[in-house]
Symmetry: none
Subunit: 262 residues, 2 copies
Amino acid sequence: MSKASGKTKKDDRISSICEALRQAIIEQALKPGTKLPEDALGERFGVGRTIARQALAQLASEGLVDHKRNKGAEVATPSWEEARDLFDLRMSLERLVVSRLAGNLTKEQIAALRQHIAKEDAARNTREAISVRLATEFHTMLAEMTGSPVLVRYVQEICRRCGLTLTLYARPHSSDCAINEHIEILDALEKGDADAAARIMHHHLEEVANRALISPVNTHAPSLMDILAPYAAVEEAESGAKVSQMAGKAVNGHRRRKSSPA
Amino acid sequence: MSKASGKTKKDDRISSICEALRQAIIEQALKPGTKLPEDALGERFGVGRTIARQALAQLASEGLVDHKRNKGAEVATPSWEEARDLFDLRMSLERLVVSRLAGNLTKEQIAALRQHIAKEDAARNTREAISVRLATEFHTMLAEMTGSPVLVRYVQEICRRCGLTLTLYARPHSSDCAINEHIEILDALEKGDADAAARIMHHHLEEVANRALISPVNTHAPSLMDILAPYAAVEEAESGAKVSQMAGKAVNGHRRRKSSPA
DNA sequence: GAAACGAGGATTGTCTACAAGATGGTGCAT
DNA sequence: ATGCACCATCTTGTAGACAATCCTCGTTTC
């Protein structure tokens, strides 16, 4: 009875903007501390300040942006204690996820997970932030397969915040082992070994948390408008099959200088 | 004379309204399904529609109100499956809380908890909704004592949603044992017996969930669609199929939101 | 020369106005 | 009489206007 499927464009512009900003934050295109003025966001996404403001409020409630009264919103800068707290709870939640999932995955789900791991592997040599995003998506997929909307929401949120923390503190060259651990987790889940899956997951997250300890890097973004250009475009493209006419928005796809394939 | 009474007045009106609505919802002053027009809220709280709207959005993100596009907001009516899901995750989260708290409570914290239990006991003969609110606050206090802001947020949110569920489905005369269980939990925590505390908490929540989730027919606002579902079904079957089995089951989630990501 | 003060600009907080969609009633046609 | 279509009205969605607050920077004074 419901045909409404791909109307994320007109259906809820706030969600679209949130998602775009989330991606930008996780991929560190928007670094922690970057100011997010409502005017600029509204102009970039083609909406008024009202919508931009609501999107920022949403992200603030998720902990991805910091909203101080009369001082605007900026990308959150999690402290070390907050990061530790996040990872602690994340471990518990994801233990719960794998214990629910062990032995209960369908063939299709396992295939989807392996496919995603392949994507992670393929992106191993690209920008670090991309790897973080893909790894986060893996954990999100696991949570979604539990079929528990609440759990999905919490895991998603906490994973994103952990991802933000990683882009802040983590040192590079550490995603290779993480991918292997993803494989191990999936293997244990497929075999139905809940204990092993929980143990590996715990170890996996502990590893990830441990390598987020030092070197607080801080640089200021060059231009907010330029940074957001690809994400404003991807917001429409990611919808999937329906690539309707996006006349006005003019996808000027000059990606960042860093990604030069081949 | 206005400065001594705290900063809730000008500090953040949205939060104030949210809190007021939360209380009203938990105490069933606003019953599930009640429409919440922005105009009325704004007028009642002395703010414009913008503020009321933001408060509603906040509550919607917490799952306490249901927000349908172009159709306004209303107090959420959790389905049976959602309620089951909520209580499942709540058990896990609160197990985590008590396992963190066992043996680590200060004298002051224990005293505060006992004082709150006394308040629960005093309110045992008042309205059911008040008891639910106080019981919820007890669990919230426990979460706060972990010192983990994220955990606090999640436990708070999930407890409120569970409280909403209870006001919907629970039958009266059931808070006495719950208070005793609170005492048992606190005793175990004070002794530092993490296992016992976790076990009692699990049992406690299972009890609460069971008395809430056994009979979904108890609601005073039954969905018309659900009621008519068997009849609509028999109209399609049109022949030998009997309705008798459906009368027993009666748990049929009809149209839910269409977002099932693969 | 440094610190305090104040004007100016910029950004946020809130409200109201206008547009779009939904709901419900009325009238017309069959 | 029933069903359909149109319209009136209400509520929500969104944008911009106006006021309040904060930051910056130049000026003044010790």
